[in-house]
């Protein structure tokens, strides 16, 4: 729900209550004043009525005087003065009950005490109240509408800096070089918001940058000690007088070094992707590239006794050759690595979509969620680094490719779609300057 809607709702609820109360107050107030006026008139007129009655040969029971009905009844003695009340009488002309104002008082006429009741029709005053009430309500309604329209207009205008800042924050990408611009506002709250956002985004950018710098430096600096260790192992291997246990130790050392090197290589690749070091794009025909890769992997397929089914149609994508190479290598080697002996690998390339399917052990539950995260392994105790698919994910994100993973029991399938529209988006993404407009 929009803020405007929410506040309007509150305003409306408050107005309705205020409206009702005012209406009620107005109604009863008017009524009270008019009744008072009527009563006064009757009281004033009673003196003339007494004089009139005294002239008459006999005091009549009931008689009519314009819009008033007057009844008289002889009583023992005069007790009270004026009492006022409302009542209704049946009006034969209109054929319905009509409101009357009744005044009762005792008076001695020609020595005989009488109770005199004067009932006056209230229709006119009632109409007046209704008209007054209606007019004020109509005015009130218009007022509300006006407030609503004004509010809308103001919120569009006054909240402009807020929406501007919101768009900037939405577009903000810590990896991008462009700095979000929050234009200054002369409204204090928005200026405070802008200041906070400015310092926050700046801090985010700085932190991200230093973190990236750190990973970059760390993996670079690791290369030299790794090189020294590896070369030392290489030299130790060449001595003729090594025992079998020595070789076993050296083997473990060599394997651990290899894993460390691959880990470092993967981290370097990820930082290089982050650092925009793969900017040049080339049009690459996927079919021949895939066939070439399959040729290289043939021995691995053979060794595991895997059956390969491939259906490759022409598809050309725009990407950096190195990244595309890494992407395909990772997908294909995953399909082989995580396969079971005598399993199947299927490769389909058509309609700008590449589908790599393979048989394999079913994934552990929740395994799919962390699949594209760094060090997210489907299986905690396997030897893989858990970086392969994260690199795949990173490359897909970079080029705007859509990647989906599906697991149905023994069958695993990764679908990659090289969408044209996303391609264009990715190109734009790579040149942050274009986004400034």
């Amino acid at each position: 729900m929009k803020l405007l809607q929410r506040t309007s709702r509150y305003y409306l609820a408050f107005s309705a209550v205020a409206f009702l109360l005012t209406g009620l107050l107005l109604f009863t107030g008017l009524r009270y004043i008019i009744d008072e006026e009527l009563d006064d008139q009757v009281a004033d007129a009673s003196v003339r009525l007494d004089a009139y009655l005294a002239q008459l040969p006999a005091v009549p029971d009931t008689f009519y005087q314009l819009d008033a009905v007057i009844t008289t009844a002889p009583i023992e003695r005069v007790t009270g003065s004026f009492t006022f009340s409302d009542t209704v009488f049946f009006e034969p002309i209109e054929g319905e009950m009509e409101p009357y104002r009744r005044v009762v008082y005792d008076r001695e006429i020609n020595g005989q005490p009488y109770r005199i009741t004067v009932s006056r029709l209230k229709v006119e005053s009632e109409d007046l109240i209704v008209v007054l009430f209606g007019v004020s309500m109509a005015f009130f309604g218009l007022f509300l509408l006006g407030i609503y329209v004004l509010n809308r207009y103001l919120s569009l205008r006054l909240w402009q800096p807020f929406f501007g800042a919101l768009t900037q924050v939405q577009r903000f990408d810590v990896k991008r070089k462009t700095v979000p611009v929050f234009p200054p506002s002369d409204i204090e709250e928005f200026e405070r918001l802008n200041t906070a956002l400015r310092s926050m985004t700046e801090k985010l950018r700085r932190d991200y940058h230093s973190l990236r710098q750190f990973t970059d430096n760390a993996s670079h600096e690791l290369q030299t000690p790794l090189a020294i260790m590896r070369n030392q192992v290489d030299l130790m291997l060449q001595s003729a007088d090594r025992s079998e246990t020595d070789f076993a130790h050296l083997q473990h050392l060599s394997e651990a070094l290899d894993r460390l090197k691959k880990l470092n290589q993967a981290l370097l690749l990820l930082t290089r992707i982050d650092n925009d070091q793969y900017e040049q794009l080339a049009d690459i025909e996927l079919g021949p590239l895939l066939r070439d890769k399959l040729g290289q992997l043939e021995v691995m397929l053979e060794q595991k006794g895997l059956l390969l089914e491939s259906d490759l149609r022409g598809t050309c994508v725009r990407a950096h050759p190195v990244l595309l190479d890494v992407l395909l290598n990772n997908l294909l080697s995953n399909a082989i690595k995580h396969n079971v002996a005598g399993g199947r690998v299927s490769l389909t390339l058509q309609n700008r979509t590449l589908t790599v399917g393979n048989t394999g052990l079913p994934l552990a539950e929740n395994g799919t969620e962390r699949l594209f995260e760094r060090f997210g392994k489907g299986d905690a105790d396997n030897q893989s680094l858990g970086l392969g698919l994260s690199i795949v994910g990173e490359i897909c994100k970079r080029y705007g490719y859509d990647i989906a993973y599906e697991n149905r029991g023994q069958w695993h399938e990764v679908t990659l779609s090289f969408d044209v529209r996303n391609d264009a988006l990715a190109t734009r993404w790579l040149n942050p300057g274009n986004l400034q407009s």
Binding site: T224, N231, S254
Partner: protein
């Protein structure tokens, strides 16, 4: 062969020297930019290994000078700075190869040999080991003058072994060599065994002796028993 190793990391330089001198090469070391600058100006080498980040300057500068002097030495960049830019600018300047750290000494050795073959003999020099002959220019392999058909990987593997005879080559080193320059994340160690098996079968099938020895679980060694 005379080889200059321009590398500021003393231990690394020494290990390279030890490995290469065991092959009968003559190695000289240069630990910083000035020393490298002087040595490349004074002497001729068959091959120069250059680290890019050096105390006192950039290895790229030295490559630029060598090319301007029309030195015939083959140049291999050995660098920890495995960034695309360095690789590209290094190769553009005229370096012949690029080997990112960390590398296997056997790999370096094979690259040096291939480079010198290309540079000095136009690739026409034969590589031979007893009855086995390889003509790298024509990608041709013969066993006792009978041609043997090898796949690309098997051919690479054979040349790698022949470049490092009597050396223990770890499975990791072989795998890295086979997965090529890209040295991707492919878990390639598993299939080294298959390649070795196929190569061995083809060579012995053509009448060659079996020179590939398995060294415990560690790796392989090409040697005549």
């Amino acid at each position: 062969m005379k080889i200059l190793i321009i590398e500021d990391e003393r231990v690394l330089a020494e290990s390279i020297r030890t490995y290469l001198e065991a092959e009968g090469n003559l190695c000289e070391l240069a630990a910083d930019f000035d020393e490298a600058w002087d040595k490349t100006g004074l002497y001729d080498y068959d091959c120069i290994l250059v680290d890019i980040t050096l105390p006192g300057g950039s290895g790229l500068e030295i490559i630029r000078k060598l090319k301007a002097d029309h030195q015939r030495a083959g140049i291999i960049i050995i660098s920890a700075k495995d960034s695309i830019d360095d690789r590209i600018s290094g190769l553009e300047l005229g370096s012949d190869d690029y080997l990112p750290k960390p590398f296997h000494l056997a790999e370096l050795n094979a690259r040096i040999k291939a480079l010198v073959r290309r540079n000095q003999f136009g690739g026409s020099q034969e590589v031979h080991y007893r009855e086995i002959r390889v003509r790298p220019g024509e990608h041709e392999v013969t066993v006792a003058d009978r041609p043997v058909r090898l796949t690309r990987s098997e051919y690479d593997l054979l040349l790698y072994f022949l470049a490092n005879p009597n050396r223990v080559l770890t499975k990791e080193a072989v795998a890295e060599h086979l997965s090529g320059d890209q040295a991707d994340l492919l878990d390639s160690i598993d299939f080294v065994y298959s390649h070795i098996k196929n190569l061995r079968k083809k060579l012995t099938g053509a009448g060659a002796r079996d020179y590939i020895q398995s060294v415990y679980g560690l790796g392989y060694k090409w040697a005549a028993v």
